[in-house]
């Protein structure tokens, strides 16, 4: 019974951490817009914690380059299981317009496993909220609660 309660709670309290891998700040502003009274993601128990040790979902925006890929990997490793990763915006997905640059690695999935891709330039707050909900579905599958 306790296990069921814990699994139910996991889906009701996804704490997110937001990491900017050198984005133009477009996606970052849209991500933070989710916290404002208009979208109020705290309704769903979502809290933007700035600490990977407390977080369940990692939101990554911007292109990954050779400088910050270590930071990204480090943040991912510091998050306790079970966890999910969401790549946000064209740059986070593939590298965007910067993908040909000599210092760019490409999308977030080149460094860490990504569960959900949220496209857009910048991604809309509604799409980001949808992305978090989709990530919860993926966590459900990982926990063996759904197929």
């Amino acid at each position: 019974m306790l296990k069921n309660a814990i699994n139910a709670s996991r889906l009701k309290s996804p704490w997110v951490i937001h990491f900017d891998c050198g984005s133009c700040n477009g996606c970052d502003i849209e991500t933070l817009a989710c916290l404002t009274p208009i979208y109020d993601i705290e309704r769903f128990g979502i809290i933007n914690v700035g600490n990977p040790k407390h977080a369940d979902v990692l939101l990554v925006t911007g292109t990954v380059n050779h400088r910050n890929k270590h930071v990204l990997k480090n943040l991912y490793d510091q998050m306790p299981d079970p966890k999910a990763v969401i790549a946000i915006g064209a740059c986070g997905l593939t590298g965007g317009v910067f993908r040909e640059a000599y210092n760019v690695v490409g999308g977030v999935d080149k460094v860490i496993p990504v569960d959900v891709y949220v496209p857009g330039c910048p991604a809309r707050p509604e799409a980001i909220i949808d992305g978090v909900v989709e990530a919860l579905e993926r966590v459900k599958v990982k926990l063996g609660l759904a197929s």
């Binding site: 709670s9 309290s13 600490n51 369940d56």
Partner: protein, 283 residues
């Protein structure tokens, strides 16, 4: 005696649930004051259950020990309160918990955790003299440090100690982690240094700290309730009004620095205490 023991045990078992509910209602009212909808009232329980289910990650064993001692001290102090024992004993038990929380933060070399620990220590330094003065003045009125002596009074303590209630309010604001004094384990600014004490705790140990905090909230509100012991309704209204005022203060005040906290709280608190005690002598 057995009846009292069973009452204390039941109250201690219910304290975390009550504390969690208070925290949920608090988040809802805060959201309402900020024109947001806010999370479900049971959200704090979901958070704690989720944290309990996370994989434990610790920096060292000291952290684990400190988390458990903090919880134990909070639970024991609630138990001692509802057993109606000595106020001083409760105070010292509470202090053990506070010191272990700081030790847990200082056990890790992370600068965030270190600064958080130091800030928490300053908060303890600020509210403890005030709490002691509140207990001493209660003892001056009742003639005993026993909580049972407060219940033998025929008029509420608030009438003879109005200024001490304000002093207790200062200690309450610090202990409930409300603005302007939320400089070490703030409820809101999750990305900032003001949550430093909790930086290195994660998963189940963070859940333990949260449950211990709920117990402390219940204890502090119970101490508030001592100021109106003549009727149950009076007690409930006093505690409810005090907590609502705390939420309002939390929302309208800016977060201040530790220097401002030390200076203003200790000076105003000590002045109010001296005034109230002089008044008690004059009566």
């Amino acid at each position: 005696m057995v009846g009292k023991l069973i009452f204390a045990l039941v109250a201690t078992a219910l304290a975390p649930f009550l504390g969690g509910l208070i925290s949920g209602v608090d988040r809802r009212i805060t959201a309402w004051l900020q024109s947001r909808y806010g999370p479900p009232v049971l959200q704090p329980f979901y958070d704690v259950l989720k944290l309990l289910g996370k994989k434990p990650m610790t920096v060292n064993l000291w952290q684990v020990l400190c988390a458990y001692v903090y919880l134990a001290a909070a639970v024991v102090s609630v138990f001692l309160f509802y057993l109606q024992t000595d106020l001083m004993l409760i105070f010292f038990t509470l202090t053990i918990g506070a010191v272990f929380l700081v030790m847990g933060a200082l056990a890790s070399p992370s600068p965030y955790s270190q600064i958080g620990g130091q800030r928490e220590l300053l908060q303890v330094l600020t509210y403890e003299p005030l709490l002691i003065l509140v207990f001493v003045s209660i003892a001056m009125v009742t003639g005993s440090f026993k909580i049972s002596a407060v219940f033998e009074l025929d008029k509420p303590l608030l009438f003879s100690l109005p200024l001490m209630f304000v002093v207790l309010g200062y200690a309450l604001t610090i202990k409930l982690r409300k603005s302007p004094f939320d400089i070490s384990a703030c409820h809101h600014a999750h990305q900032e240094l003001v949550r430093g004490v909790l930086t290195e705790y994660s998963g189940p140990y963070l859940a333990i700290l949260e449950v211990a905090h709920w117990c402390e909230v219940v204890l502090m509100l119970s101490i508030c309730a001592l100021f109106w012991t003549t009727s149950v309704w009076g007690m409930l209204i006093l505690v409810g009004a005090t907590y609502f005022l705390e939420i309002i203060i939390d929302n309208v005040m800016a977060r201040m620095t530790w220097k401002w906290m030390l200076r203003s709280v200790l000076s105003v608190g000590l002045a109010l205490s001296v005034l109230n005690m002089l008044w008690l002598y004059a009566e």
